[in-house]
């Protein structure tokens, strides 16, 4: 049905896949840092744990509940953070946020990798918060 073609822009296959099979869905025993974050208005919840060594995220634990967008975005984020330099990831967050709320130039989109799957959320501004919940939790985790 063609209603779904519009929906498809938001709920791409990769998103539904991450929603149904979230990656790094586990709890870490001795995380370097951890944070819980939620959006009380829609009830999305996310728990993020990281092990960090020499500025690199070496292990990640994610759990939560909420809509497909918030949970898939968290799972995609986990993959992007893992084995990466924290500063690079913060830069990635900025670009990702720009993608959804501003106007990220075409040539910077490539760097986003799989995260680009969430681009369709932009068409549903009310859902942008869902996509950013885990990322802003990560940002808080690092900054605080």
């Amino acid at each position: 049905m063609n209603e779904f073609s519009e929906l498809d822009e938001m709920y791409r296959e990769v998103i539904l896949d991450h929603y149904h099979s979230p990656r790094n869905n586990k709890s870490l025993d001795n995380p370097t840092k951890e944070i819980e974050s939620n959006n009380p208005f829609c009830g999305d919840e996310i728990k993020l744990q990281v092990k960090i060594q020499d500025g690199i995220v070496t292990e990640i634990g994610l759990s939560g509940r909420g809509c497909a967008i918030s949970q898939a975005s968290a799972s995609l984020m986990g993959e992007a953070l893992l084995k990466n330099n924290i500063n690079d990831s913060l830069k990635l967050y900025k670009d990702f946020r720009e993608l959804l709320t501003g106007n990220l130039p075409e040539d910077q989109m490539d760097d986003l990798g799989d995260l680009i799957a969430l681009e369709g959320v932009k068409k549903f501004p009310i859902r942008v918060k869902c996509a950013l919940l885990s990322w802003s939790a990560f940002n808080d985790l690092i900054e605080v």
Binding site: M1, E3, F4, E6, L7, M10, Y11, E13, L16, N38, P40, F41, C42, G43, D44, E45, R65, G66, C67, A68, I69, F124, R127, C130
Partner: protein, 412 residues
């Protein structure tokens, strides 16, 4: 057939149903949040501003006299609609929330003291919960919850063993905006009065949907919002018994609520004006009268019957969807036209977004009743709520669309 209302005909009176949403005709199932407006209500606003707009009271020019007459007439319509004994018992506010705050500030702050108790139900909208948390904390009174029975309904028996002479106020929703369940107002009122307590009814979800007679109910306060009963946003009502209003202090101070002012002091105006400071929401008060005309033209019994029919039909239809849990009672005889539900696998926001692609408007989230939603182990739920322009076909489309969306989200 003649005895039922005809939603198709009614829909024609509501211009918004001429628009499409994502190419689909609008199916509006978010009536507990706010209702749509008939052309007559919209016309009432334009007509006022085109022909009679002026500030009310004391003006000797024609426009001001006309505006004042229209404004007073609207209040009489409200009075008759809920069968209040006196014109002076109808206070205009912005909405149900402000009506409740008015009672909290002007009555409760003065009449509740340390050691007193007040009760509310576990079903309350934040508007009938947060003000009481604040007031009780401020005066040192206890805010307690009316107990429920095993089925999750208000348990008057248990409650009668908790209420005592220290109980000064009960404030309870007439109909839950989440579960649709109707509270046993009669029993609660009797209990309250037996112990010398006053009772306030949050009528936000009842006044728009059923016949209301405050004299028969014998409640002390009743709050409701015009925007939930075909009227405009920005205007609500507090009904209160005259003898109580008379001894209450004013809430907001300023123009129109005084009779005499010196540099040192002020005397209050008569009821109902004592509680209405500043230029009132004249146009929306008048349009509220027009909304009431529309509803009374149908008849509130018919409105209520229609919604009971819809909710019965919807409950039956929903039972065909195996992944759906209905929140609260499934007995249509205990409910008004509100159904909240949870899909085992699809988050309410995803469901709401997807239904919107089909032109179907439902509400998703905590419905301003977070603690209640949490008591079901949820953080959000979906809600379909009905009104006079909804029909069985709307429900069919809702159910069919949910099935399609299930296929999309679950099987793909």
């Amino acid at each position: 057939m003649n005895n039922n209302l005809d939603p198709m005909n009614i829909k024609n009176d509501f211009p918004i149903f001429k628009r499409t949403i994502n190419g689909y005709p609008l199916i509006y199932l978010d009536n507990a949040a706010t209702t749509q407006k008939p052309q007559s209500v919209i016309d009432s606003l334009s007509s006022y501003y085109r022909n009679s707009n002026a500030n009310v009271f004391r003006g000797v020019h024609t426009l001001s006299i006309e505006a004042t007459d229209l404004y007073d007439l609207a209040r009489q319509k409200v009075q008759k609609f809920i069968n209040a004994k006196n014109f002076q018992e109808i206070i205009y506010t912005r909405n149900t929330s402000e009506s409740i705050n008015l009672v909290a500030y002007s009555w409760a702050l003065k009449n509740l003291t340390k050691g007193d108790k007040m009760f509310i139900s576990p079903f309350e909208h934040h508007s009938n919960l947060v003000p009481w948390q604040q007031i009780c904390r401020k005066v040192g009174a206890q805010l307690l919850y009316i107990p429920l029975d095993d089925s999750g309904a208000i348990d008057c028996d248990k409650f009668s063993s908790l209420i005592d002479q220290n109980t000064k106020l009960i404030s309870v929703t007439h109909m839950s905006n989440v579960l649709g369940e109707i509270s046993p107002i009669k029993d609660l009122t009797e209990l309250a009065h037996r112990f010398g307590a006053l009772i306030m009814i949050d009528g936000a979800q009842s006044v728009p949907h059923m016949p209301i007679d405050v004299q028969e109910m014998n409640c002390d306060f009743l709050a409701f919002s015009s925007h939930k009963m075909l009227g405009p946003t920005g205007i609500g009502v507090l009904y209160a018994k005259k003898e109580i209003l008379e001894i209450m202090d004013p809430f907001l101070f300023g123009g129109d609520m005084i009779s005499e002012v010196t540099y040192e002091d002020a005397k209050w105006n008569d009821l109902p004006y004592k509680f209405e400071a500043g230029t009132p929401n004249i146009a929306d008060a008048i349009a509220t009268g027009t909304a009431i005309d529309y509803l009374q033209n149908i008849g509130m019994e018919k409105v209520f019957d229609h919604e009971i029919n819809l909710v019965s039909y919807a409950l039956e239809k929903f039972s065909s969807l195996e992944n759906i849990d209905i929140l609260g009672s499934q007995d249509p005889s205990l409910k008004g036209g509100v159904i909240s539900f949870n899909h085992k696998f699809i988050h309410p926001h995803d469901l709401g977004t997807a239904l919107d692609r089909f032109g179907i408007a439902i509400r998703t989230g905590h419905h301003c009743a977070m603690p209640l939603i949490r008591s079901f182990g949820l953080v959000a739920a979906s809600r379909a709520s009905f009104y006079i322009y909804n029909d069985n076909e709307d429900i069919d489309k809702l159910i069919d669309s949910i099935s399609d969306i299930e296929d999309y989200f679950i099987n793909e």
